[in-house]
């Protein structure tokens, strides 16, 4: 993958983020619209780059840290676009796109080469597992961003941010969609483990923490029925949940060791 195109992509997203920041100060609608257009252009470029890598490799190239960060960033930008077009949450874009810049910024200095696929990963179940996993993660990242904004809005009552009921609805939707997609990721992973290693549940640390992520968000899907937890507590849970996601995605690989095939 061309470093120039990657830098261009980063610049597009950085400009969009800056646009949202300036929009927050100057409150010009054109700035928010331009930022949205830039995000859409970034998603298009990133989709093209991802598609090209997939076509060149012959398999979904999400097998190292560069590729997972790149895919995560793409999924987050795409999901932000979905929520923006659905709810017009403009100022919210600042925080989500900042998170996206962190992901893409983490990918930029890494080796972009597509490595040879290890035989155990050569199955469509792997691609399904990965796609659902990172889109699920992206929804959890969205829920985290919205949770932070909910807590900010609860203190600031700013006209620049969506109202609390809207933020709560978006947060609940992000958690629910993320949980559903992550569930499908777990099912694909279990089927794959059964045919690759002969058991559908593995006790390796990454699989165990994936189950913890699933249980945490399953709990969150129930927690919103508890009246006292709706809103603020739910926002805090979204933040805590994303910490569990980050540990599962990055922490285990960087701090510990696992025999999960993507380590």
């Amino acid at each position: 993958m061309s470093k120039t195109l990657l830098n261009l992509l980063f610049t597009i997203y950085a400009t969009a983020t800056l646009g949202y920041l300036v929009h927050l100060i100057w409150r010009r609608a054109i700035l928010a619209r331009t930022s949205l257009a830039l995000v859409a252009a970034g998603v298009l470029l990133q989709t093209g780059l991802l598609g090209h890598r997939w076509w060149v490799a012959g398999y979904l190239p999400v097998t190292n840290l560069f590729a997972t960060l790149f895919f995560f960033s793409w999924a987050l930008a795409l999901i932000y676009l979905y929520f923006e077009l659905r709810y017009r949450i403009r100022a919210t874009g600042l925080f989500v796109m900042l998170l996206n810049l962190v992901l893409l910024g983490g990918a930029l200095p890494r080796d972009t080469r597509v490595s040879a696929l290890i035989p155990a990963l050569d199955t469509p179940l792997f691609s399904i597992h990965i796609i659902f996993s990172f889109i699920g993660y992206a929804f959890f990242a969205m829920a985290f961003s919205i949770g932070v904004l909910y807590l900010c809005q609860a203190r600031l009552s700013s006209v620049m941010l969506p109202d609390l009921p809207t933020l709560r609805r978006i947060n609940e939707e992000a958690v629910f969609l993320g949980f559903g997609l992550f569930t499908l990721c777990m099912i694909a992973g279990s089927l794959w483990a059964h045919i690759a290693w002969g058991h559908w549940f593995s006790w390796n640390i990454k699989s165990v923490w994936s189950v913890l992520v699933w249980m945490f968000y399953a709990g969150m899907c129930h927690a919103k029925f508890i009246r006292r937890w709706q809103g603020g507590v739910y926002a805090w849970l979204s933040i805590a949940g994303f910490a569990v996601v980050l540990f599962t995605y990055l922490g285990i690989g960087l701090l510990l060791e696992s025999n999960h095939p993507l380590e």
């Binding site: 050569d122 499908l184 099912i187 058991h199 640390i205 913890l212 249980m215």
Partner: protein, 358 residues
């Protein structure tokens, strides 16, 4: 007062309400989550105790690990208990919903997820008690082995072909295997990476492969090349025959002349040879292939020069059995269908302004 007008619940009703309670579900799930979080770190920092967790089913591993370090493995039964109680709580919720399905049919997706979760818990328990994990088993092409814990079954490796990259990196291990039950062919399949043989809860899959020294190729002046392995017979003259009785890949001779095997690796190979004639055995002794041919053989007119080792490839196959795997598959399908239905009902309910949405 309204509370005085409401009929009080019986003990059974209160117990049932408690069993279906959302707060109980959250408490049990939180406890299980906290225990597994802590336990996963204990597991990571104590590989000597927990490394066997993947190689054995839970009902075999847990008593062994408990005997070694009960405090370190305590989280496993405790979290298992929490998950089991959580499963019972989920079952109560599901039954409660079934009784009210006419009014709550829109939640079919969500309750299919509940049903799938219960099936997965039962499937894991079933597999952890009634299954087994074994291997890797070293099998040579043509060899047949009896399955551990299932003596009515035997597995034969009909053919084995490893596929390698030009660099030597293994790409695949293609095993043509046949599974026999009480002498009858039960299944035949091509087993390779990500393509196991699945039959009656059994999963047979390739793990690795290797090579074992089978014999040596020798050059005989005037006769060309001959391959000798244990059991080979080589006519030396019209009257005498050389027989290879044994082959050791790495051998040494002690002070009293006894020859013993040092390792499985090819290092100092030796052959136990016997030269026999019409009157019986003429000579028997060890030939260390790094040394000259023993004098008795040279005197018999034999000239042998080892040129290359001959290897026999074997496959390493893992054989696991999980009687709950079909139930787990049904549970997974319930969950997958449940998720898709729940997505549709979520947006439908949102469009109708129905809250809470899920």
């Amino acid at each position: 007062m309204a509370s005085l007008d409401r009929p009080s619940k019986s003990l059974g009703q209160r117990l049932w309400s408690f069993g279906c309670s959302l707060k109980l579900a959250i408490a049990l799930a939180s406890m299980a989550t906290a225990l597994i979080m802590g336990g996963s770190l204990v597991m990571h920092f104590n590989p000597a105790i927990f490394s066997g967790m993947e190689q054995e089913i839970m009902s075999r591993w847990l008593p062994q690990a408990w005997a070694q370090a009960p405090l370190l493995v305590l989280w496993v039964p405790l979290s298992g208990l929490c998950v089991l109680l959580f499963g019972i709580n989920t079952l109560c919720c599901l039954i409660d919903w079934l009784f009210k399905i006419k009014a709550r049919w829109r939640k079919t997706g969500e309750y299919l997820i509940h049903a799938g979760f219960i099936l997965l818990v039962i499937a894991y328990l079933w597999g952890s008690i009634g299954g087994f994990r074994s291997g890797p088993h070293r099998i040579f092409p043509g060899e047949r082995i009896a399955l551990p814990n299932m003596p009515e079954y035997s597995l034969q490796l009909d053919e084995f072909t490893p596929r390698l990259e030009p660099s030597g990196r293994p790409l695949d291990m293609i095993n043509r295997v046949s599974l026999w039950q009480d002498g009858e062919l039960a299944a035949r399949a091509l087993v390779r990476i990500n393509h196991p043989l699945i039959h009656d809860g059994l999963v047979i899959l390739p793990t690795s492969f290797g090579q074992e020294l089978q014999g040596f190729r020798f050059h005989m002046p005037g006769r060309g090349y001959v391959d000798l392995a244990a059991g080979s017979r080589l006519p030396v003259s019209p009257e005498t025959t050389l027989v290879v009785l044994q082959l050791l890949p790495d051998a040494r001779q002690d002070g009293q002349g006894r020859v013993m095997q040092v390792s499985d690796r090819l290092n100092n190979p030796a052959m136990l040879l016997s030269l026999s004639g019409p009157a019986g055995q003429l000579w028997q002794g060890w030939y260390f292939l790094r040394s000259p041919l023993p004098g008795a053989l040279q005197e018999a007119g034999l000239a042998l020069r080892p040129t290359e080792p001959l290897y026999k490839t074997f496959s390493l196959l893992t054989i696991n059995r999980d009687p709950g795997d079909k139930l787990a598959l049904v549970g997974s399908m319930c969950i997958a269908i449940g998720v898709i239905l729940a997505f549709f009902s979520f947006y439908r309910k949102r469009a109708q302004g129905d809250r809470p949405e899920v």
